[in-house]
């Protein structure tokens, strides 16, 4: 069941242009699947009328806490990033469909680009198998909380400027030659996800990606955030944001 509630900011950590927000609700959280997202209301920003859809970086059900990793790209997200500890944010959750968790003993690779690495942490945490991560950014500072990912599984890194890990894009990393995977999970910029989807298709590997479209309601009512799929226009917010690449026209 979806919930709309005020969450209090209990911890905040800044990473350059990204900010980690740990938010505590008063009521018990509903069950949250990895890959689902929240819609956060932005108060006090005249140019920001609609809520902002944000992926869920982590969940602590015992404390009724969710963790968001927000990249401040516009006025709305900057406003969210400027929230102070002790202040509250109004949040609708959980929205959309999550990733399909792997079967026992499947080899999985979680590929993230930029702030798209955010939901992969919670995804890796929810798996019964040990995940491998492949995380890419333009520069080292784009890749935040790497130690948290490393604690869950092998973590491979690429940066476009070579400041961390292998130089280049995630699709160029040597891990693709060295290992085989049964399932690939992706979140990041569309071009990067399409490139990873191409690799998956070429190798016949199962692959799910998480789309990010401009959206208004987040509930499947306004039909603004559609993706043109093999089944026609589907709402990213309701039928997604996670899609198996077989359903996409990529």
């Amino acid at each position: 069941m979806k919930q709309i509630a005020d969450f209090t900011l209990v911890e905040k950590e800044c990473f350059g242009n990204a900010v980690l927000l740990r938010l505590r609700g008063e009521r018990p959280l509903p069950e949250i699947a990895p890959g689902q997202f929240v819609q956060v209301r932005v108060d006090g920003s005249p140019s920001t009328y609609l809520r902002r859809p944000i992926s869920i970086h982590d969940v602590d059900s015992d404390k009724n806490e969710i963790v968001l990793l927000v990249q401040m790209v516009g006025e709305g997200t900057r406003h969210l990033g400027n929230t102070n500890v002790g202040e509250s944010l109004n949040i609708v959750l959980p929205l959309g469909n999550g990733y399909t968790l792997p079967e026992k003993e499947e080899r999985v690779l979680l590929v993230g680009g930029g702030i798209g690495i955010a939901p992969l942490y919670y995804l890796g945490k929810c798996m019964d198998v040990k995940p491998a991560f492949l995380l890419g950014g333009k520069k080292a500072s784009d890749l935040v909380r790497l130690e948290a990912y490393r604690a869950l599984g092998d973590t491979f890194v690429t940066t476009e400027d070579g400041s961390l890990g292998e130089k280049g894009m995630v699709t160029m990393h040597s891990v693709w030659k060295e290992r085989e995977f049964d399932k690939i999970y992706v979140c990041g910029p569309k071009r990067m996800m399409m490139a990873v989807a191409d690799i998956a298709k070429a190798n016949g590997v199962w692959c799910e990606v998480s789309l990010e479209h401009l959206m208004a309601c987040g509930l499947g009512a306004c039909l603004c955030c559609v993706e043109d799929t093999v089944d026609g226009h589907l709402c990213v917010c309701k039928e997604g944001p996670v899609f198996n690449i077989r359903r996409l026209k990529w």
């Binding site: 979806k2 009328y49 208004a216 009512a221 306004c222 955030c225």
Partner: protein
Amino acid sequence: MTIDLGRGLVLRNPVMTASGTFGYGEEYTDFVDLSQLGGIIVKGTTLNPREGNPYPRMAETPSGMLNCVGLQNKGVQYFIDNIYPRIKDFDTNVLLNLSGSCLDDYVKGAEKVDVLDKIPAIELNVSCPNVKQGGMAFGVTTTGISQVVSEVRKVYHKHLMVKLSPNVTNIAEIALAAEAAGADSVSLINTLMGMAIDAEHRKPKLSVITGGLSGACVKPVALRMVWQVAKAVKIPVVGLGGISNATDAVEFMLAGASAIEIGTANFIDPAVSVKVAEGMREYCERHGFQKVSELTGSLDA
């Protein structure tokens, strides 16, 4: 709080949710007790299925948004076979918003909906700005609206509400034409045609360049039009356009509306509709109104 809009359409309170902003109601049942609403107006439906316009379909604007969804829906028959059975027993009025691209579409669609027991009214959409040769062609001239309303009137026997376009020079004339052609009520306003540009990339923000503006920013325009129309017609007026709270809703009633619809505000607060209904009740108590209908047109001007 009861409102009688005529020809069998009686609302528990004046608050309805606007078409295209509330899905089929099902999307909101985690947040809203539908029995606390006067009615819900489900997504714009056309005789034949429509895929709608390509993405991107939405652009945020100061205190509002533009959309060019383009009436994506699976058609009247799909609605009747698959959606109607799921929503017909909602404890509120379920109205269908019916659109079309030619006269025949409207008439055939209305005939099919006429036999649905649990749909007490159609909101006839002659004002969608996002479809080529679409409904708006009918909604912007008095002859166009007379034609479509009188033809639908012949086949539709329940409450016929006509949703008016604000993209006209004299909306009162259009409303009078709808009334003369047999409309039981008019609802206004649909979205205002607008446009948004991404200057950095020198591109339109919407796939079909123009779209319909909604949200708090359109409220003053909507209020003025409701006031003009309510002075001109005798049938009830349903007001909408930027209503975000109970005070906004009361303002529309004072301007002459008998009921109101909440649209874009549902996106910002999925529970806003019931809060507005409760807030209107409180307003009436505070100001000594026995019935909410006493608010209609009671502007001291």
